[in-house]
Amino acid sequence: MSDVASPPRPERQPLVLVVDDEVDITDTYAMLLELHGYRVSTASHGVEALARMQQEWPDLLISDCMMPVMNGLELCAAVRALPGGAQLPVILCSGAPERHDLSQSSHNLFLRKPVFFERLLDEIQRLLPSQR
């Protein structure tokens, strides 16, 4: 179990971009991750996520697979094509992974939905160890 983050440090806090077309999920992750000292930006599909990334480059990307406009796999491929995108940790999530060809995707981690927060937090901290 992870401890609640210590008070915000003066240096820049890690930014997590959460992408899901279910606003309840993005809001819930945002609320909980902020309690652990992360900054969170949200988007409801891949195109919106790329726009957010132009505003501020995140330290980690969490994306649902099945979304309108641009799905999670397309988003992941688009991110990898951006300068510096190959190094960005990407977590993809789906409740139905069999519907996607994940073998061709370059994500770092796949999590099957439902993703409980304890697991998600563990994985984020594992992927961003130096930024805790």
């Binding site: 609320m31 909980l32 940790p89 992974p97 939905k113 439902p114 993703v115 409980f116 927060f117 992927l127």
Partner: protein
């Protein structure tokens, strides 16, 4: 460069696991049964019912059972009532354990957050506390305060969505307690994963408590209402027996084995006894010998080293034993050894589902193969809703038949009558065998006679026969005289 994270992702996919929602046992057997095994974990439930219906007791009991099982539990109140007062209300129940409070069970108030910060403030508080304590269960008492805080329908709907998502993401099974009734089309009802209602009504001067699961996503719950009691142990729920029997869908087998009824002279008349696992109804006027015949049946089972059970409603165990002794049957030793047990219950404010459960538990635990129910009108009278009588008896007799329990059931006929008894035609569908015990006048002398009304899977002589009762018990004599006619009354 290889990426170790990718392999773990692949492993996760390769496992191909289907993520079925785990069921959280509540620790209350009857509750779990009507829920279809338990509450789907990590979901949001509304437990509603007017004041005094038992919501807080039920939720507290579940909470303490979870805490005792090692889970963290959080009790959040949205009413001005102090925690001490709330704890005091449940402290007299057996499930209460003071040592868990403050350790496994955290208590906090959300009243100030709600009144000062509105729904957003309350959600912030809940998320922070869930994050801090990571409870497996959250109980929010006084949830009506959320609506009473005056949000718009849209705001309330958004709050319910957010709360549902939060507790799901935190995998925290959450019970909301609210003093309302009915399956209303409001967000508190529609945006939760389950709605359970507690209610109560008066049947005559008897108070009957009921529980109903309106909806339960992800579970195969029992439909309809079930009765429950609140006693020293807390809430005890008795699933409606007909509902559980329907779900079980047991199909009785058949047997070609005959068992003695304990009266050799009567065995001869009915082709060697009754079929093992069958149900036999002994119909007759008061005092004609139904119970005594049932005791012969039980004694025979005991002599054959069978486990036997007598379920009685009127004659106490002591009186039954004395009656057996007078007829030459010594049942006391069997009672002492445990081969015979008696379940005696005055047919007053007893719940039929409770009695059926105790009866079947006894049968299952001890491997009972012979059962005497003395008599069926006692069973009928404890079924509060009269429309339940027949389905209840159908379910019970089917269960006994499925378990292979050879059963005698006595049924009393009116003391005074003008002609041959008019038996409810549907009764015959409950029993394989029906025997009629009557008083008859023969040569100006009252005599008892017995005849077969129905005997399945067996040839029998339908003629009525005289039945004598002496110090040696029941003896079947010769054919009753053709001139004999049933008495207009029992005397």
């Amino acid at each position: 460069m290889s990426d170790p994270l990718q392999s773990s992702a692949s492993a996760d996919i390769a496992s191909g696991r289907t993520h079925r929602i785990a069921l959280l046992g509540t620790g209350i057997a009857g509750f779990d049964e009507i829920l279809g095994g338990g509450l789907p974990a990590g979901s949001l439930y509304l437990i509603q019912g007017l004041a005094g219906s038992g919501k807080t007791t039920l939720a507290s009991q579940v909470a303490f059972m979870q805490a005792r099982a090692g889970r963290q539990v959080m009790l959040l109140t949205l009413i001005a009532e102090s925690h001490a007062k709330m704890l005091n209300h449940v402290s007299n129940f057996d499930f209460f354990d003071d040592s868990l409070v403050g350790h496994q069970i955290q208590m906090l108030s959300g009243y100030a957050s709600l009144s000062s910060g509105g729904l957003r403030g309350l959600l912030r508080l809940i998320s922070a506390e869930l994050n801090r304590h990571r409870p497996g269960m959250l109980v929010i008492d006084g949830f009506r305060s959320v609506r009473d805080s005056g949000p718009s329908d849209l705001n309330l709907s958004e709050f319910m969505h957010a709360l549902n998502s939060l507790v799901f993401t935190m995998n925290c099974t959450t019970l909301l307690l609210s003093p309302v009734e009915g399956n209303m089309p409001e967000s508190e009802n529609t945006l939760v994963d389950g709605v359970i209602e507690l209610s109560q009504y008066e049947s005559g001067m008897q108070l009957v408590r009921e529980i109903k699961v309106f909806k339960l996503r992800g579970a195969n719950h029992l439909l309809g209402k079930h009765v429950f009691e609140i006693n020293q142990s807390g809430v005890e729920i008795f699933p409606r027996f007909e509902a559980t029997a329907t779900r079980a869908g047991k199909v009785p087998g058949t047997s070609d084995r005959y068992v003695s009824v304990g009266i050799p002279s009567w065995d001869k008349c009915i082709g060697g006894g009754v079929v093992s696992g069958s149900l036999t109804c002994l119909l007759g006027s008061p005092g004609v010998g139904k119970t005594l015949m049932g005791l012969h049946f039980i004694e025979q089972g005991l002599k054959d080293d069978q486990q036997c059970l007598i379920v009685g409603f009127y004659e106490s165990p002591e009186r039954l034993l004395a009656k057996a002794r007078k007829a030459g049957m010594q049942l006391d030793d069997y009672l002492e050894s445990g081969a015979l047990q008696m379940l005696w219950q005055l047919p007053l404010e007893t719940l039929c589902d409770d009695l059926a459960k105790r009866m079947l538990d006894n049968i299952g635990r001890r491997g009972v193969t012979r059962l005497l129910i003395d008599g069926v009108d006692g069973l009928r009278s404890i079924v509060v809703q009269q429309q339940r009588v027949r389905p209840f008896l159908v379910a019970l007799t089917n269960e006994l038949r499925s378990r292979g329990v050879t059963t005698f059931i006595t049924e009393q006929l009116p003391y005074f009558r003008e002609s041959r008894p008019q038996v409810d035609p549907s009764s015959s569908q409950l029993y394989e065998n029906m025997m009629l015990l009557e008083y008859v006048a023969r040569n100006e002398v009252n005599r008892r006679q017995i005849s077969v009304m129905k005997l399945r899977e067996n040839g029998y002589d339908g003629a009525a026969r005289l039945m004598n009762i002496s110090d040696a018990g029941i003896e079947i004599d010769g054919l009753a005289a053709t001139a004999s006619t049933p008495l207009a009354d029992g005397c």
